[in-house]
Amino acid sequence: MRSRSLPRVVRILTVILAFMLISAACSGDDDDATAGPVVLDVLAEAGDEATLELATAQFTEMYPHVSFNITLRAFDDYMQIAPGILSSDDPPDIAHGNQGYTIDGLLVQGGLILPLDDYAAQYGWVDAFGDGTLDQYRFTEDGTDFGNGILWGINGVAEFVGVYYNKEKLAALGGLPATFEEFDALLAAAKDAGEVPIQLGNAEGWPALHVYGMVEAAYRPAAEIRDWVFGEPGATVVTDTERQAAAKFEEWRDNGYFPEGVNGIAYDDSVANFIAGEGVFMIAGNWNTATLDEGMGANAGYFAMPVGPSGIVGGTAALALPWHITTSAEDPDLAAEFINLLVSEEFADDLASVGRVAARSSDTEIEGLLAEVTAGAAAVIADEGVTLYADWATPTMFDTLTSKTQELLGGQIDGEQFLNDVQSDWDAANG
């Protein structure tokens, strides 16, 4: 029997009881009809369609008077229209945002979303996810200081970058690497064996960023990387260790560890190439798990990147797009209750069933590649190795990084120039 069954029964009973009491109270009075049918409007990024299907079904079971009106939009589309819809006359009750200045900062500045600190305390979110993990959803009240202050959103899904590998090919070269040096040595061995060491398609510019993020994490402490992404006082992009990372990435480029014409290969095509057996490793986000599982079956493996000689793991990682409660939500408490269901430990099993990785530990018995991916995420959280996504650092950083990784991989610039360009973008926003 699942552990959540009992509380759910209790909750259902509570709701029924409350319903009876309120309807009794309302019968002689024209009090506000809280028990009448309630519709929660949800505006979400389309990747969460299956997640929402499961969650809303469970929620409606608990609260039969609640129904949902869900609007889904694909990622690019969503980020274009969401702020406009939230500031319109008819905003939803719950909506996705996006970490960083361009969406979340904007929503906070516009007073469009509610602070969630009280709910976080009520539901124990901070303890459950770890103190620093939720900083990516924090902004000061004026929406200008990212990573500090009030909690405005939350999501329980881990979107971590890790290392997928072709089990057959790796077995021919050696075992799983315990340190970054061992990983580096495996790349050289793969190259010598005539394999493509790292499958990558960088036509979009951001895929290489995930690879660079891993190298960066291998040379620099995760906390230091988080500080520059958040623009903390005293932080900076370029340090000696950052230079070492850029030099290592440049070395990988020069050694031919990436496929030929990497800037002309689309991300989806690179995943298809990896499935087709081109590449020993693929450093990519864990959202590829279902695709790889389907395409490669038992031949696909995953590990969190060992980022130092001590064997700790880390790298580019974050939680998924935050769920926000809008300021015009009719019943914020109810909306918070639904969000709590989405991030609850009980729901972690359901997340796994739709191929998503829960950041909260789950006792479900998942199998195969998803189990390795989930274990990898847990290891990164345990080692406090989350380094966030570098493109959150400034409003223009996404454009800077995407074009600069292409120039770096294309040999137009060297690692030093790459870092200088990133630094000047960062200085313009934080100077």
Binding site: G110, V262, D399, S403
Partner: protein, 322 residues
């Protein structure tokens, strides 16, 4: 050039006057006094209202926004010419404006030159199945540009048909990831533009050639003009109107190019295929600096206007001197 001596005195070939349509009568209704009756303007009102609401008002609004800093949510802040200063000092925006000029070569100059050559040939050589030929060439023009972009992205892919074909004929040293190549990405994209606009230009010219009286060609031939001379003396001057229309349409397509870039490269690799409309998109939807996007939009509009006015001015001057 060796010429026969049969026609010793030869009047210089002049542009065919017949080809120019006579000016249509002015469709303005005049009252007994000879002045335009005020009621005439009433008939213009519906069209003007439509134009005002959907073209003029957004234009004025965008112009106004270009002087503000605005993220779309919080209050607009007046910043004067700051956005324009940003546009002209940002090397990326300048590179994008320059790229759009290069794209004019691919979208306008190249298709017009090729179409003129083919049309010139057609004046001499009978081509069988000309209608079918023309229909096929016109297809790219009516395809949605996103479809075109997706198709060509596949053609240019590292394991796409273009590289496959090159490898097949032993040119494997030429094959590359075309859209990811810092040298070839922009020309590759430009060639797609040529492919798209060529059909339109060709159909325009082919129609134009058909209305040239065959006597003109006959007299040119009697005068001993060879194919090249015939082309410059008869065909080209007769097509001046069509060339103007083709230039305006294709230059506009080149400067406001967004679909192809967005789907094929998003401006990459690096900033090599960056165009002004991508910056508008980025400024407004990614960086959320709507004033900056509006400023680039205004500059792009002025650039378009300037190029088109230059084309029209050149055409008018040509008319007067002819």
């Amino acid at each position: 050039m060796q010429r026969d001596g049969l026609a010793p005195t030869r009047a210089p070939l002049r542009p065919p006057q017949l080809s120019r349509p006579s000016r249509p009568a002015r469709p303005v209704r005049r009252g007994p006094s000879g002045r335009v009756q005020p009621v005439a303007y009433l008939y213009l009102l519906p069209a003007f209202a439509f134009f005002a609401v959907f073209a003029v008002a957004p234009l004025v609004h965008a112009f106004k926004l270009s002087f503000y800093e605005w993220n779309g949510i919080t209050d607009q802040v007046w910043v004067g010419l700051d956005n324009y200063v940003t546009v002209f000092t940002d090397p990326h925006v300048r590179a994008a404006l320059w790229n759009s000029v290069i794209l004019i070569v691919f979208y306008a100059v190249l298709p017009i030159c090729v179409a003129l050559v083919i049309v010139g040939l057609m004046a001499r050589v009978r081509i069988r199945g000309r209608t079918a030929f023309r229909a096929v060439l016109f297809v790219p023009t009516i395809l949605p540009l996103t479809v075109v972009a997706v198709a060509w992205r596949w053609v240019y892919a590292p394991d796409g048909p273009l590289n496959f074909g090159l490898d097949l004929i032993g040119l494997d040293f030429v094959s590359r990831a075309w859209l990811g190549d810092f040298t070839f990405a922009l020309p590759s994209m430009g060639m797609v533009g040529t492919w798209v606009t060529f059909g339109l230009v060709f159909v325009l010219f082919a129609a134009g050639v058909q209305k040239i009286p065959s006597q003109l060609y006959e007299s040119a031939r009697i005068d001993g003009a060879n194919m090249v001379r015939e082309f410059f003396a008869v065909t080209l001057p007769a097509l001046r109107g069509e060339i103007t229309v083709a230039l305006i349409l294709t230059v506009t397509a080149a400067l406001r190019n967004f679909d192809l870039v967005f789907v094929m490269t998003r401006g990459g690799p690096g900033t090599n295929t960056e165009v002004p409309s991508m910056f508008i998109y980025r400024s407004v939807f990614q960086i959320r600096s709507i004033g900056l996007g509006a400023a680039i939009g205004v500059i792009l509009m002025l650039e378009l206007l300037a190029v088109n006015l230059a084309v029209l001015w050149y055409r008018r001057r040509g008319d007067l001197s002819a």
